[in-house]
């Protein structure tokens, strides 16, 4: 069987599981079986796509199915780029299925989740495989609808219906933008096959419109600011393993769409396109993480952090566009490799963190961080793997998040080679924004971990929590191990990505596998290197040396005592530093501008025994300035049109007559 045939067989298997789940899912015992079957199919698809990625890059397989548009058929094709994204999709899918074997048992309404879960996976596989605009859009819409159904799984919980509604609106808007974009790409001849689009020349005007439409379509799905509003509502509303898929994987499928159109279908990019993408990427990264910093709900915090990471990826893609537009192929390859590496990394640690949030939700029933605390004592294993995820997402060595950030900074440092002044000045500024986002991400995850896992328990449910089942733990430990492996052996990942950059850009980074001490050297010109393995070995050695010396020579005495409260021990756990108070310094520095943040102190008059209150006022300026006016305008106009429903028959007749006359007049003037 050809490589693409294997993938299509796996997709068929997933669709078959969907049908099976429709029949079986009402019985509780079928949950583990169905997730197990999904795991098996995803694992086969993962192995198949890994083989395609690591195998001969020239071996591009395609297949055509006689469905879809009659004169076109449905084309599917598996090249290196698709193979890489299939690895990301199926790795996430397999991990989520393994997690689901355990987590799914706690699902009160399995028949609302089980049928859509394999369908969602199948749809994401199909989007990546599609090789003509019609199948692409069809599968894209299928993916949106399957994920929408999963978002609505718990539709009776407050706000979930609203989340689903906004998601549906934004998804339709995004598809519309992509539809128009593909229409422009297909040109007047209207050939929707990707091969034809790739071969056809595109005028600069059309290319500009396609860029804008792709940014609207793929960007709204990926969560680019200001199109991100649905994401922090919809991702957390789904069950946690689906949240992990939506945040870790579906946003990546949207990024795949962007890469496919901008780097593959559209041909040589114009340099100003990169300015737009860089700008949006930098803003998205900083805004996303600032939103996350202000958030109290653990899953929404993770969703906002996804927006940050999408911003980082887009900034790196913008760099790749800038270098590619100026013919600097090696630098473009470096930037694209960094972006793809970050795609992989983010799918690993974001899935891990959403699984952790799901485990907390199972154990305590809480998503609000201000009601958690002290979980490190109750859930030792979960707290350990989540710590790994937090370190990785904060871009700290020796984990994987740092490697991709490092590669992006190396690409940023090559910007003096760019001839355009706008880019020369802009790229360092975007680099500073990315550094700001990375530092804020570390702050944000200190907050998330510190408030949820450390300190004293803030609620009764938290005091009685305990570690979750083995399948969930296994899924999380596998992801954590992969985070570490990608961090200490980055050369292998970079080499695996080389066929993609060759295919998309016509250049690739030097092969890394033969470097001494498996360090990575991005390009000869940068003269910089980094070896994750050695850094880890050094840290491990020096930590064990210091532990040895301390335990050999220092006092062993240890006494437990009450915490030092400086003369006033806090009486209740509620008096601990909370997430909101942890965010206060950063809210004060950035929030006054970005969120219009104000702290109000309500001090009762002297003699009054009411407690004083501190109220924090935050505004989502993007929602209030952009979406609320649109919603108000739609509401107003529909209210106005509503009057048409309550007219008398004479008024309706005169309306019909007036319309007829107007149309005839228009016709008369026209001709």
């Amino acid at each position: 069987m050809s490589a693409v045939g294997l993938q299509m067989a796996c997709v068929a298997g997933l669709l078959g599981l969907t049908v099976l789940a429709l029949v079986l899912s009402r019985s509780k015992s079928s949950t583990a079986v169905l997730y197990g079957a999904t795991l098996a199919v995803s694992a086969v698809a993962l192995i198949g796509s890994l083989r395609s990625l690591l195998g001969d890059p020239a071996n591009i397989t395609a297949m055509t199915l006689p469905v879809g548009l009659p004169w076109l058929g449905a084309h599917f094709r598996l090249d290196a780029l698709a193979a890489f994204f299939l690895v990301v999709v199926n790795l996430g899918g397999a991990a989520a299925s393994l997690y689901g074997v355990g987590y799914g048992r706690h699902e009160p309404t399995p028949h609302r989740v089980l049928p859509f879960f394999p369908a969602f996976l199948a749809a994401m596989n199909l989007v990546v495989l599609a090789d003509d605009a019609f199948s692409y859009l069809l599968c894209w819409e299928f993916m949106s609808l399957a994920s929408w159904a999963l978002v609505m799984a718990h539709h009776r919980e407050s706000d979930n219906a609203k989340a689903g509604y906004i998601y549906l609106l934004m998804a339709s808007f995004g598809t519309l933008a992509l539809l128009l974009g593909f229409g422009l790409l297909a040109g007047p001849a209207g050939d929707y096959g990707f091969a034809a689009i790739r071969a056809a020349p595109h005028t600069p005007y059309a290319a500009a419109l396609v860029l804008i439409l792709t940014l609207l379509g793929a960007g709204s799905k990926a969560g680019l600011v200001p199109l991100h509003v649905w994401l922090p509502l919809a991702h957390p509303a789904a069950p946690s393993h689906v949240s992990a898929l939506m945040s870790g994987v579906m946003t990546k499928v949207a990024i795949y769409g962007f890469i496919r159109i901008m780097f593959d279908l559209l041909g040589q990019p114009a340099w100003w396109a990169s300015v737009v993408v860089l700008f949006l990427g930098g803003i998205t990264a900083v805004m996303g993480i600032l939103y996350a910093m202000m958030e109290k709900d653990l899953k929404r915090l993770l969703a906002y952090s996804t927006i940050e990471n999408v911003g980082v990826i887009f900034a790196s893609l913008g760099l790749a566009l800038a270098f590619q537009a100026n013919g600097l192929k090696i630098f473009a390859a470096l930037a694209l490799t960094a972006a793809l590496f970050h795609v992989l990394n983010h799918s690993l640690f974001k899935s891990l963190l959403f699984f952790g949030a799901g485990a907390i939700l199972t154990a305590t029933g809480e998503r609000d961080m201000e009601k958690l605390g002290g979980l490190i004592h109750r859930m030792p294993l979960i707290s350990f793997v989540v710590l790994v995820g937090c370190v990785a997402i904060s871009a700290l060595p020796p984990f994987n998040g740092f490697v991709s950030e490092w590669l992006i900074f190396q690409a940023v440092l090559q910007s003096p080679e760019l001839p355009q002044w706008a880019l020369k000045i802009m790229v360092p500024a975007v680099g500073a924004l990315l550094a700001l986002a990375a530092a804020l991400a570390a702050a944000c995850f200190v907050k998330a971990y510190g408030v949820a896992f450390l300190g004293r328990p803030r609620s009764v449910a938290t005091e009685t929590a305990h570690d979750v089942d083995r399948c969930s733990l296994a899924a999380m430990f596998i992801l954590a191990t992969l985070c570490l492996l990608a961090g200490i052996l980055p050369g292998l990942v970079i080499d695996a990505l080389a066929p993609i950059t060759t295919e998309m850009l016509g250049g690739n980074m030097p092969m890394q596998a033969k470097n001494a001490w498996i360090s990575i050297v991005p390009i000869a010109q940068s003269k910089s290197s980094y070896s994750g393995l050695l850094v880890m070995v050094f840290i491990a050695t020096s930590a064990s040396l210091s532990v040895y010396f301390i335990h050999r020579f220092a006092s062993h005495a240890l006494r437990r005592a009450p915490a030092w409260g400086c003369g006033f021990s806090d009486p209740t756990p509620a008096a601990q530093y909370s997430g909101t108070s942890f965010a206060q310094p950063i809210r004060r520095v950035f929030g006054t501008v970005v969120f219009g943040a104000r702290d109000h102190v309500e001090m009762p008059p002297p003699g009054d025994i009411r407690p004083a209150r501190l109220r924090v006022e935050l505004h989502d300026l993007i929602w209030e300035g952009m979406y609320a006016p649109i919603a108000a305008a739609v509401g107003l106009s529909s209210e106005w049109l509503n009057r048409l429903q309550f007219l008398t028959i004479r008024q309706y007749l005169s309306l019909v007559f007036a319309t007829l006359v107007t149309l005839l007049l228009v016709l008369a003037i026209w001709s």
């Binding site: 904060s394 871009a395 990315l434 530092a439 050094f538 006092s555 030092w564």
Partner: protein
């Protein structure tokens, strides 16, 4: 044989930073005391403090977790590795190419990440206030640091510290305005990162404006010793960093033999003395600023870094 001698030199560097770090802090304290006409403690006092702390028992808060007990070792190890990777007396040591400046900054970030978590672990307000302010300062210092790195990399063509130092030591650099801006910005960042005046006061306890000391308030005994030692090392690291990039005078090149190393070490000691003296002089003459003035201070560092970079674009000879 060559490998063994290489490893010996690398090991010497690691030991050197370890041995010199408390001395530098002691020297700064001594000079500060002399400047206000006090006699001050001996320059060796930090060693005695560390030994005393090692002999004391650890008093652990009742709900402190394993993370709290592991953190001192993790932070110490991360800072030690970072300090060992900055060239001190010689450039191009065996493992110098393991990490470039960005990675060294990130290693310090790892140390801070764990320390901030440990501040949250016991669940008192002091730890939280210290952690939250520490991460705010870090969030502001890191973009400034990146622009400084950018400025340096534009001049020297690399982010690898040994390469940068060798380039700066060569005669064809000369005086440049942009490098001047970068060094001022780097000093500002270093003051903030090391919790020195005017950003934080290393000598206070139980003051509401303190940052670093509040975060580590719960630590005692051997744990506190590791954290203090880490802080000493971090100060030495930043001094070595500024010295090797902007004052690579007499720094030895790897493999030039013991005599060059001896000269390099002597020059390094001279640089430490100068830097320690200047730091003490600056700290004695400055007041600590309010914590919410720090963003402006670090914003100025960011702007200097950006300006330096832009000047380099305008003309390579600035």
């Amino acid at each position: 044989m060559v490998v063994i001698s290489d490893i010996t030199v690398q090991g010497m560097q690691m030991l050197l930073v370890l041995l010199l770090a408390p001395l530098l802090t002691g020297f700064v304290r001594k000079v500060k005391a002399r400047l206000v006409r006090r006699r001050g403690a001996s320059v060796f006092q930090p060693y005695r403090d560390l030994l005393r702390l090692l002999r004391k028992e650890v008093v652990l808060a009742e709900n402190a977790s394993w993370l709290f007990r592991v953190t001192p070792y993790v932070t110490f190890a991360a800072i030690w590795v970072a300090a060992a990777l900055v060239p001190t007396f010689a450039t191009g040591l065996l493992f110098n190419w393991t990490a470039d400046l960005i990675a060294i900054v990130a290693l310090l970030g790892s140390a801070r990440f764990f320390l901030a978590l440990a501040g949250m672990d016991v669940g008192t307000s002091f730890g939280g206030i210290g952690s939250s302010r520490e991460v705010m300062i870090a969030a502001l210092a890191e973009p400034a640091m990146l622009l400084i790195v950018f400025c340096m990399a534009l001049v020297a063509g690399s982010t690898q510290l040994s390469t940068v130092a060798n380039f700066m030591a060569s005669s064809d650099v000369g005086l440049r305005v942009s490098l001047g801006m970068a060094v001022i910005a780097l000093i500002m960042v270093a003051l903030a990162e090391n919790a020195r005046i005017p950003v934080d006061n290393p000598a206070t306890h139980l003051e509401l404006t303190m940052v670093h000391e509040a975060m580590v308030l719960e630590y005692s005994g051997r744990h506190l010793a590791m954290i203090e030692f880490g802080a000493f090392l971090k100060l030495l690291l930043y001094v070595s960093l500024i010295a090797c990039v902007f004052l690579p005078w007499k720094i030895a090149v790897f493999g030039t033999g013991p005599l060059a190393y001896a000269i390099g070490t002597a020059a390094y000691l001279v640089k430490l003395v100068i830097a320690g003296f200047l730091l003490a002089l600056f700290e004695s003459g400055t007041a600590k600023m309010r914590v919410f003035r720090v963003p402006q201070f670090l914003g100025a560092a960011l702007m200097l870094g950006l300006l330096g970079t832009l000047l380099l674009f305008v003309s390579r000879s600035f």
